[in-house]
Structure formats: C-alpha cells, structure tokens
C-alpha cells in the first residue's frame, strides 16, 4: 500500500464507519416508527420487503452504471442523495405531516425503497473502489477492517439509538443517519485516489454491458463456483439466522435475555473473527482459508444442532458466525483480486442479485421444512444444515475454488509463496475426508448406539463424550455394553486394548515411514488410525505411490471419521434410541471392509491369507474380550507368509526357465 493510498483508505474507512453507525440508527428507528404509526405486522413486513425490491429490479442495471461512471463521484452523490432522503423523515415530521398517517407511512416506504436503491449503487462502488485504495495482497485485511467496523456499528448502533430515545423524539434519530451520510460524502471528497482504471473502451448499450458482466461471471471458473456456492449457501444458511429464535426457545427454553446472548455472541464472533481474515490469508492460501472456514462453520452448526447445553450453543453460534464472516471476506476479496477493474461493479451487482433472490427463498423454504418436520425438530434441522455445509465445502473443493490460486496468479496478483506447498496439502486433506464420507455415514447409527448405551451403563453425558473423544474407536460400543452388563472397569480397559490391537499393527505397517515424521505429526497420524482411514489410505498409496500427501490424506480421512463418531455420540445422547435400524446401514462397513480386502488381493498367497483370516475370525467369534479379531489377523498373516515361501522356489525355478511368472504377492 502506498503512503497516499494508505491515507485514502483510512479516510474511506473512517467515513464508512460513521456512515454504518448512522445507518444502524435508521435500521432501528424505521421499523419502530412504522409500527408506532400503524401497529401492523404486515406494514412492518412490507417495509422490509421494499428494501429488497430495488436489487431485484435494478441491481444489474446499477452494477453496469457503476462500471461506466466515475465511481467516486457516484458514491459521493449517492451519499448526498441518501442524506437528503433520510433527512426528509424528520423534515416532514417537523412540519406536522406525521399526523397524515397514510401519506407519512407511504413516504416511509418510499424512503426505504430509494435509500435501498442508493445503497446498492454505493455498495457496488465501494466493492469496486477498494482495489484502487489498497494493494491486492492487503485486500482481505482492508475488507476485514471494513466488516469489523460494520459489525461493531450494527451492535452498538441500536443500543445508542435506544439510549437516545430517552432524550430525543423518534423521527429525530434519522438526522443522525443523514448527518453520517454527509460525513461519508465529506470523506470521499478529500480522497485523492481515482476509483476507476483508465481502461474504458468506446461506449456501448447498457444492456450490452449487463450481458457482458453476466457472461464474465459465468465464464470465469472461480466466479462461477463462488456464485453457485453463494447461491446454495444463502438458501441453506438463511434458515439458521431466520430460525435462531425458534432454536433458542424450543431447544434451550431461553427467556428474552438468554436469547439476546445468541445475538451478542454472533456479533462478537464477527468482530473477533474479521480481523483474523487477513493474517490467515497471509499464512494460507485462499482455498485453504475459505473452504476451511466453511468446513468449520458447518462443523459448528452441526455441533450446535446436537448440543443439549445452552452455554455451549451460544458459544458455537458465535464461532459459526465468525467462521462465516471469514469465508465471506475471503470470497469478497478474491473477487476484487481477480476481476478486472472495469467489471467490478457488475460482478458485485450479480452477487447482490443472487443474494437477494436466494435469501428470501431460503427463509421461506427453511420455514416450510420446519413446519413439515415440526418445530420440535429445529435442532436437527440446524444439524442437517451444518452437515450440508460440510458436504458443500467438500464438493466445491473439487471445483475451481479448490485451486483458486491459479486464477489469482493469472490475474496478476502476487503469487502466494505458501500456496505451492499448502494447496496440495489441503487438497490431500480434503480428498481424504471426501473419500471417507461413504464410510463415515454408516458408523453413525453404530456409534449413536454407544451414545444410548453409555448413559444406561452409568456414564454421565460428559463422561460419555470424553470416553468417545479419547478412545476414538469402535471399541467403545462393546465396552459400554460390557459395562452395562456389569463388567468391572479393568476388564473393559482390557477389552479395548485387545480390540484395538489391530491399530497397533497398522502402526507397525507404516512404521518405516512414520518414524521420519516429526513427533507431533506422528501422534496426530496415529490418533487417526481407524480401519476405514487405514483402508482408504493404503488404497490411495497403491494408486499414486506413497508420498507426503498420504499422511494428510490419512489425517483427512481420520478427521471425517472423528466428526462422524463425535457427532454420532452426541446424536445418541440427545436423540436416544429413536434411531432407525430398518435400513441395516450397519452392513455398510462390512461391505467397505470386503471391498478393501478385494482391492488388497494381489495373488494366491493373499487370497489364502484372506480366507484364513476370515475363517479364523468367524471361528473365534466367541473368544472373550474380542480376542478373535487380532488372533485371526495374525493367522491370516502367517498363512500368507507360509504360502509365499512355499511358492517362491517354484517361482524362481520357473523364471530360470525363461517363463514369465507372477509371484504370490
């Protein structure tokens, strides 16, 4: 950032902060005034609805205008226009027109409509202006500063406005907003930097501009992926904000004060997370931070939907809002980084139109779903939304969003020095998670049964969770069943030790490579050993050869299993024994193991090893403490080694005769 543009950014930021604080006064006062005048919920809803109309009607048009006009002048004029429009409310009230209720209410609707239209133009201009005010590598930090001040204003504004009502009449509050627009206009007028790049070609029809903008968004792979993801996310996420009150009331039986803590936590999450977006982006690539934030958000919402504790729910909600803000900041900044200056206004307007289309759809759709499943199921709806977000993040990691740095560099931004190392790492991690999804889903009913059995065996919910967390193995279910049947705790420990013996063998198998890792990585990798993770990782290693990505693939796979296992434990604790069993999903892991077994077969020796191990496992099923499985594995290995040794001399003799021979394994 040059000295001049740094100065200009801070002037811009200051003007925006004041303007946002003023706007939050209007956001507080306008619905209140309409309600005071009409006492009607329908009028309140109408006042909100008219603010979304301009975007749908003129959003694309305004975006095109922003790209062809002098943006700074346009923003300055929209500020002056907003000051005039908002200022008209106290003006009309002062001359006594407030008494003409119908006229005054219609005027208020008009003010909402016009100021929303002006705001679209200003927002598109702001989006397009920022790349002129800061260097590309500082866009995330600049955006996060603007968003943090916006979130702080949204929290503080209504409080200040409420306090001001003690000394001022309601219409006067709008003067604060009008004055704040004048401050913002003043700030813009002293900024020296131009907001437009000098690249404008000969003028063309406005509709041609709009078509060009839409076509650009659609043809640019990253923009297309971001727009599609934003559309999907808006539809899904809107329900969480729209139905937060229902969740708090139904799931946690909150009173008004407790409910307000959810909103405070949400704002705090945004204010605290927004400043992290810049440092995170400096350390990791766009794909890692954006998709990581999305995964985190999904996980937090999933946990929110499953947790029975109010305090934890408030914390999870706050964190999820912060994670969402980090995601939004990354995508916003990336658009500013990769889109040519001449298209910025139109790209922003497309995003706004998509948002204003999908948010009402999501709100209504979510409401209908909740009505269909019943309000009592609201927590499960939140959990399902969390799961959808996780799946969405995994799915979109396979699109251009998963390797956005390529386009970032094509656009001339500073190459991310860490991207070359971290991007493949993230891709391997996500690939591991993705590969394990079909294996993780079937364990949910199995582990959920543990969540039901453990409390019945005398464990508190906390003990149940900690047990699952620390042991992280399918052995917890037989252990809980043994406890329920009255087995002494030491026997249960022995049972877990025996059942997990095969995981020691997995460690032994990978030991020659494992010992080359740093200790903390070794411990993390070992914690991630599950049958499923080991299976998919070995398969990947056979396909692509063993390299460092295999470790991250294994960790990703383990992470997916971990999410499923811990989520299922909470699910079992909360839902109890109501889980459906008719689909026999518990059969799916068996099929997966069978599939891994088939794919591990490389010759006669391994076929016989599999048959011996399988037969022995069947025969040893009655052995105590689950000793049958490790014993069967050892038998299988022994048979495989013996067959291989017996066959080797024949193989050598055969090859001496000049024949081609495929060895046992």
């Amino acid at each position: 950032m040059t000295r001049a543009s740094s100065r200009d950014f801070w002037i811009f930021w200051a003007g925006e902060t004041v303007s946002n604080l003023g706007s939050s006064f209007t956001l507080f006062a306008l619905p209140l005034l309409i309600y005071q005048l009409t006492g009607s919920a329908v009028n309140l809803a109408l006042s909100m609805a008219v603010t979304t109309l301009p975007s749908l009607l003129f959003g694309l048009l305004i975006g095109a205008w922003v790209d062809r006009l002098d943006r700074k002048r346009l923003m300055l004029l929209t500020n002056l226009g907003s000051a005039l429009v908002i200022g008209s409310i106290p003006g009309l009230a002062a001359v006594g027109l407030e008494a003409h209720q119908s006229f005054f209410v219609a005027w208020l609707y008009g003010v909402s409509f016009v100021s929303a239209a002006l705001k679209i133009a200003f927002d598109a201009g702001e989006f397009a202006a920022l790349p002129s005010l800061v260097d590309k590598e500082k866009l995330v930090t600049a955006n996060s500063r603007l968003q943090a001040s916006y979130a702080a204003a949204q929290t503080l504004g209504p409080l200040l406005a409420g306090a001001a009502l003690f000394v001022l009449p309601l219409p006067t509050l709008f003067l604060v907003d009008a004055a704040s627009f004048l401050v913002s206009a003043g700030a813009l007028s002293v900024i020296r930097t131009r907001f437009n790049a000098e690249t404008r070609q000969e003028p063309q029809h406005l509709l041609q501009d709009i078509r060009e903008g839409l076509s650009y968004v659609w043809r640019q792979p990253v923009l297309r992926a971001i727009s599609t993801l934003a559309l999907v996310l808006n539809v899904v996420i809107t329900t969480t904000t729209a139905q937060l009150v229902l969740l708090a009331t139904v799931a946690y039986h909150t009173n008004g004060q407790q409910l307000s803590l959810f909103y405070v936590a949400g704002s705090l999450g945004i204010v605290l997370f927004a400043p992290l977006a810049g440092p995170l982006r400096r350390r990791w690539s766009f794909s890692q931070v954006a998709l990581g934030a999305l995964l985190l958000m999904g996980g937090l919402l999933l946990a929110l939907g499953l947790t029975p504790w109010y305090e934890l729910a408030v914390l999870l909600w706050g964190l999820s809002q912060g994670a969402e803000m980090v995601f939004n900041l990354q995508t916003r900044s990336l658009r500013q980084e990769i889109v040519p200056n001449a298209f910025l206004g139109r790209v922003m307007s497309v995003a706004q139109v998509l948002a204003y289309t999908s948010i009402p759809l999501g709100a209504v759709g979510g409401g209908l779903v909740i009505e269909w499943v019943g309000a009592a199921q609201i927590a499960r709806v939140f959990a399902a939304i969390g799961l959808l977000i996780i799946l969405g993040a995994l799915l979109f990691s396979r699109t251009a969003l998963g390797h956005a740095e390529r386009y970032h560099q094509e656009a001339g931004a500073r190459p991310d020095p860490r991207a070359s190392r971290w991007l493949p790492a993230l891709q391997a991690l996500l690939a591991g998670m993705w590969a394990t999804v079909p294996l993780a889903l079937p364990i949910i009913p199995y582990i959920a049964l543990y969540g039901v059995t453990a409390p019945a065996a005398g464990l508190s919910p906390l003990e149940t969770l900690v047990f699952s967390l620390l042991v992280f193995s399918g052995a917890i279910l037989p252990a809980a069943q043994a406890l329920q049947a009255g087995a002494p705790p030491l026997v249960v420990v022995g049972m877990i030790a025996v059942l997990n013996l095969r995981q020691m063998l997995y460690g032994a198998k990978l030991a020659p490579r494992l010992v080359r890792l740093r200790l903390r990585w070794r411990l993390l990798v070992c914690y991630c050993f599950t049958d499923e993770s080991f299976g998919v990782t070995m398969r990947r290693a056979e396909e692509h050869g063993w390299d460092w990505r295999c470790w991250l693939f294994l960790i990703g796979s383990g992470l997916m299993m971990w999410i499923a296992a811990q989520g299922a434990t909470v699910l079992g604790l909360v839902v109890g024994a109501q889980l459906p069993t008719s689909l026999a999903l518990d059969f799916m892991p068996t099929l997966a193991y069978l599939c891994f077994m088939v794919l591990s077969i490389k010759g006669v020796a391994s076929v016989l090893a599999a048959l011996a191990a399988g037969g022995a496992a069947k025969g040893f099923m009655g052995l105590p403490l689950g000793l049958g499985t490790p014993a069967a594995i050892l038998i299988g290995i022994t048979v495989g080694v013996i067959i291989q040794r017996v066959r080797r001399p024949y193989a050598l003799a055969w090859s001496k005769e000049g024949k081609v021979w495929q060895s046992g394994s």
Partner: protein
Amino acid sequence: MAIWVMIGLAALASNGERSLFGLLPASWQLPQRVRDALDFLPVSAFAALAFPGLLPTAAPLPSLSASKLLAAFVAAYVAWLSRGWGIKGLPFVLLVGMGVYWLDVWVS
C-alpha cells in the same frame, strides 16, 4: 472416580497401542521379515473384519444372512471389476452392495 480412571486407562491403552510404533526412534526399524509379513496385514485385517459380519454365528433369520451373502458376493465382484477406478469406485461398490441387499430383503 472409577469411571474417570477407566476412561484414562482406556485412552492410554488405545492411544498407546496406536502410537507405539510412531514413538520409536527414527533409527529403529522393524526386521525385514516382519515388514514383509506385514504386507499381508491389510488383506488379513479386512477379511477378519468383514467375514464375521457376513456369516453370523447364530443367525435367527437365515434369509437375512443369505441376503447379506448375496450382496457381499455382488459387491466383491463389482469391487474387483472396478478396481481400476481406485478409491473413487468405493461409493459405487457400497451402493451396489446395499442396493442388492435391500432388493433381496424386499423381494423375500
């Protein structure tokens, strides 16, 4: 208190076993014979995990076992045919296996 001790010991046992070979010094290596033998670990481990689920010792519903066996055969065959797809073929194999199982249960 006894429960917390049990949880602690179970965590120690479980993670200790997992990490045992990861905690060994870098210079230490398993004997070559053992490493060769462990080539048979994946196939043996997955066979030992899969077979008991296919052949329950005391099957109260023989048709259910038959359905699972049939589904397992088909899934194994599909897994073998689609081995060129690698790990990406797994969801397909699971889908086919579960589909055959559900179909057979539904028909019978």
